[in-house]
Symmetry: C2
Subunit: 602 residues, 2 copies
């Protein structure tokens, strides 16, 4: 099957002429065409240029939609009277309905066309990403159900549209989750430009939903009005607003659930954006090297220390988090709880940084080949890691400047200062560790590549003996001698190749299979380096889980400690936090995924 | 010389082993090394990975500097008391001094090392970019001189640091302009990581200077205080503040010049950033295809209509601009001047859009090869064009929403509305035209490529006859038949190649030279398509010049018409305009460069 595909890649006289007039049954590859680039001499070049043009135009579409939506959102924020939240909801609903139409068309039309999906990107949409789409999607649906319930109870003071919009949202989330679950790996080969535009429209819609979720502070208002109401009741005053939750349990549940589930909705939008972006990059992509993707299984491999330490961290973290939540959500949070919270971080962050640095050093010591194949999913992973880290790093720098400018010698302030500095350092070291790990070839794939390298490509064979050399010779020798040895090896290999061509191919294949099996066997017990890497990445996964849980479920000391709030002013700091916090949460989630991959491939 | 370089590219047994132990006199290429990637089997792969790692780490450095500076700036904006402008100036001066040290070291140390600059990127730092660095640089120096003079006159109420800082700034601008003028094309081959960090530090400093210039509204304050002062004098009141320009001419000149020259400073920072970024991308780059870069000369080629129409546009534009400036800078700008200003745009913008669309269509009709070689300068050009356009497009969308939400049927409002829509459309069509034009091979280079293609690469030769075919056969036939014909041609060509190998190479070379000369001759009179493209790009250059002049020299109707200001609120709209306007000005300037290149290569 795979050989079949590769041969079709190469320009052959017969199929090419047919592909131009394109009855889809006879030739399977639809080369892209674009009226701007009709005069390219080669079909491949025209295809590449048409691809670029398609990406440009669909990108322009998304840009315009995002700008229009942002202008609407900003108007709503800065001029409540002219543009209301309902207007924004109407715009978003129109976009959602358009996306729904496109997704339905894709599911029923595009993807069912003959030869629509010839290739599937094995790196795209790994199970943890698709799982989080489902998880966050179902939480978001629950959120909308709660919202509908809440609005139904308070129907006398809320408009009817507050029931209609969440219903559309539920439909959108369901359809999108279904679509992403089944089609996130597709490299679609028909209707390129229409598909690109559809994907970009969906990305733009998700981005706008995220922006709305980030900037919409009605929840904060609701909480504050509730608090004020409670205070008023304590003071024995009469309630002021007519729109208060009646004292039934169900209303309280709806309200609490709504507030608790809200962060998942922002995460859902971000995750969907990243998956859709990979799909957009994969439109029209033809994967030439059909490397049989052996999925490395998640096994414990006798890793002990990492899980143990990590579990301890998580348990302590949960205790700290619960104490924090109990005390800090009161009307006047006391200082001690902040000291405890920051102390926990100050102990944990240096540990994580040191461990990540050690991991990077071990990576450098390991004699593994680098995986330098083109891989849009990995590139996106790297960009997202760096981009999402910017949220926390930016916030940390704002904190640092605020503290240094006020009073760095105060106990709490010095704690926050060191927390901020350590956080920057931790983010950077962890990113370097993950990025470095993602570029190492997985263990199974490395042996596999060796296997196919021997069997298929005689031209590339010169590199492989050089590498096997590496594993036996000492390091110092290798770095100085390898170019010479490579040359010698190349000659030897060429000679061997000539000799071996005399031998029948069948015999050769069996020999190679035997050799590679013995190779796998000899490596089946882990070396200390691989073990250490697995310990480290497991530990970091657990640490990142607890660091993800805390802000996701409501611990926001950067907002509650009041220091930066008073320094920058409420609205400015609110905007900074609203931008930085969801990115930070997304960063933790994304790190977990990256670290799991490092764990599996180590 | 070029052949020499290419042969050095290829891995040979002797030079590679030497390059690993690296005495710089014996081998000229310094492959990059990085401790993380010592175990790559091939030197090239290790080099590539080391390059990526170096870029990552220098990028992280820049990111941290930019974040720290942004936090400082934001603190200054939102909390004047704790962080003053002087603090920000101190931080920036430290950065400038560090950059100065690095630039000096580069000029005297790094670039003078043996084999430091083996290759020069012929696309980097074209003369118009370096020219604008010099131009904006000298204006910026003048600006600082004015500032020093102004502060000296008002020394009684200004602190002494306001003389020190501009002096450092002058030194920084001079050194940087000298450095960029002489070294913008360098592909440095030694001290890779140190150079990368130095470049990134300089980029970060320039970015922060730009951010400061954008957010610093002291000038607006100064103007407003002056206006208020004048009003007060008319009303016969006593002056309030002690720090007022004495009634000498020199002080007025300093003040006016300062306000007039201010926009050039922001442009200078942006231009320097882009040049430095290209240098950073070029660190360690080895240009393998040494295509003899024949510089197409700027000639008029009998182009008449474009310059004529363009000059008319410029003259009318200057009249409109002057009338606008005279009336709008008064205390109460009247409606008529805005109507005139926007009408001018509404006539001009559709014309430009239509012309750009026609140009794009002609590009599609032209039978020219696409230039798909890797070219960091062009990639950056495209990104900058798209990125800078975002400023204007974003502002336009904000205007549209504001107008639609208030009263779109008012005459002035409907003018602004159509102006905004047309501006978006114009930006997009012009971008598509420029990007498309940049990817076409220049005329001279195309013939040159054909030349070398025949002589050197027999493997690639199959593509060239196919293309010559194209120029004679009709279009419809070509698109359907070319794959078939290409195949046939390939076979013929292979056959010919075998035959020709019998003939002596010298004879062959002469034959080819003759053929290509006759080819050049037959194309020396311009076809109507090339002429039309030249007319179009010349016209667009002139239009962009006038559209650049207007906002640069102070016509800011988006701020002065008061519509959006009252809709979004003063501070919000001020931030949006401050972000969007400089980007818009930069966009016009960058478009001029891109269009000139399209003109020359058409």
């Amino acid at each position: 099957m795979s050989g079949n595909k590769v041969s079709r890649q190469k320009p052959c006289h017969h199929c090419k002429s047919r592909s131009a007039s394109a009855p889809p049954g006879t030739s399977m590859i639809h080369y892209e065409k674009f009226w701007l680039y009709r005069h390219c001499s080669s079909v491949q070049q025209r295809d590449r240029q048409a691809q670029k043009a398609g990406q440009l135009f669909s990108g322009l579409l998304a840009m315009n939609v995002v700008f229009l939506g942002s202008a609407f959102l900003s108007s709503m924020i800065f001029n409540h009277v002219a543009i209301t939240l309902a207007d924004v909801w109407i715009l978003l609903s129109i976009l959602k309905v358009l996306c729904l139409f496109w997704i339905t068309y894709y599911l029923l039309g595009t993807s069912r066309q003959p030869h629509a999906v010839l290739y599937r990107d094995s790196h795209a949409g790994p199970v943890w990403i698709r799982g989080s789409v489902l998880l966050f999607g179902s939480f978001s649906i629950l959120l909308n159900v709660f919202q509908i319930g809440y609005s139904t109870i308070l129907i006398q003071c809320k408009s009817r549209v507050e029931i209609v919009f969440p219903s559309i949202e539920i439909l959108f989330i369901c359809t999108q989750a279904f679509f992403l679950w089944h089609h996130s790996k597709d490299c679609i080969q028909v209707q390129h430009n229409f598909t690109r535009c559809g994907l970009m429209l969906t990305i733009a819609t998700n981005l706008l939903l995220w922006l709305l979720a980030v900037t919409n502070d009605t929840i904060h208002m609701e909480i504050e009005s509730q608090l004020r109401e409670v205070e008023r009741r304590f003071a024995g005053k009469a309630p002021t607003t007519s729109c208060i939750c009646p004292n039934t349990t169900i209303c309280k549940v709806f309200q609490k659930g709504y507030i608790l589930l809200y962060p998942f909705n922002t995460e859902y939008c971000l995750v969907c954006c990243s998956v859709l972006y990979v799909m957009w990059k994969n439109v029209g992509r033809r994967i030439s090297h059909h490397v049989p993707h052996i999925k490395p299984q998640f096994k414990l491999h006798g890793v002990v220390l990492g899980p143990l330490l990590g579990t301890m961290t998580v348990i302590i973290g949960i205790c700290v988090f619960m104490m924090y939540q109990i005390q800090a959500t009161g009307s006047a949070p006391n200082r001690q709880v902040f000291v405890m919270y920051y102390s926990y971080y100050i102990v944990l962050l240096p540990l994580m940084s040191v461990v990540a640095v050690i991991g990077t050093i071990i990576h450098a010591l390991e004699k593994k080949e680098l995986d330098t194949l083109k891989n849009p999913t990995r590139s996106l992973d790297v960009i997202l890691l760096m981009g999402a880290a910017l949220g926390q790093i930016g916030m940390s720098y704002f904190s640092i400047v605020a503290i240094v400018a006020t009073d760095p010698r105060d106990l709490l302030n010095s704690l926050i200062l060191s927390y901020s500095i350590l956080l920057i350092f931790q983010n950077i070291t962890q990113n370097v560790f993950i990025i470095d790990g993602l570029h190492r070839q997985p263990f199974a794939a490395a042996t596999e590549a060796r296997h196919t390298g021997h069997a298929g490509q005689h031209a590339a064979a010169s590199e492989l003996p050089g590498e096997e050399e590496t594993t036996t010779s000492s390091k110092e020798e290798h770095t100085q001698m390898s170019p010479d040895k490579e040359g010698e090896m190349k000659e030897e290999q060429n000679h061997e190749a000539y000799v071996q061509r005399q031998v029948s191919m069948l015999e050769l294949g069996q020999e190679i299979r035997k050799a590679s099996l013995s190779y796998i066997h000899s490596y089946s017990h882990l070396s200390w380096k691989r073990k250490a890497l697995k310990e480290i990445s497991f530990f970091l996964v657990l640490c990142n889980i607890i660091l993800w849980v805390m802000p996701t479920f409501g611990a926001h000391p950067v907002f509650e400690n009041g220091l930066e709030k008073s320094f920058y002013g409420y609205s400015t700091w609110f905007a900074i936090v609203n931008f930085g916090l969801p990115l930070g949460v997304f960063y933790r989630m994304h790190s977990i995924g990256g670290l799991l991959e490092v764990y599996i491939t180590a």
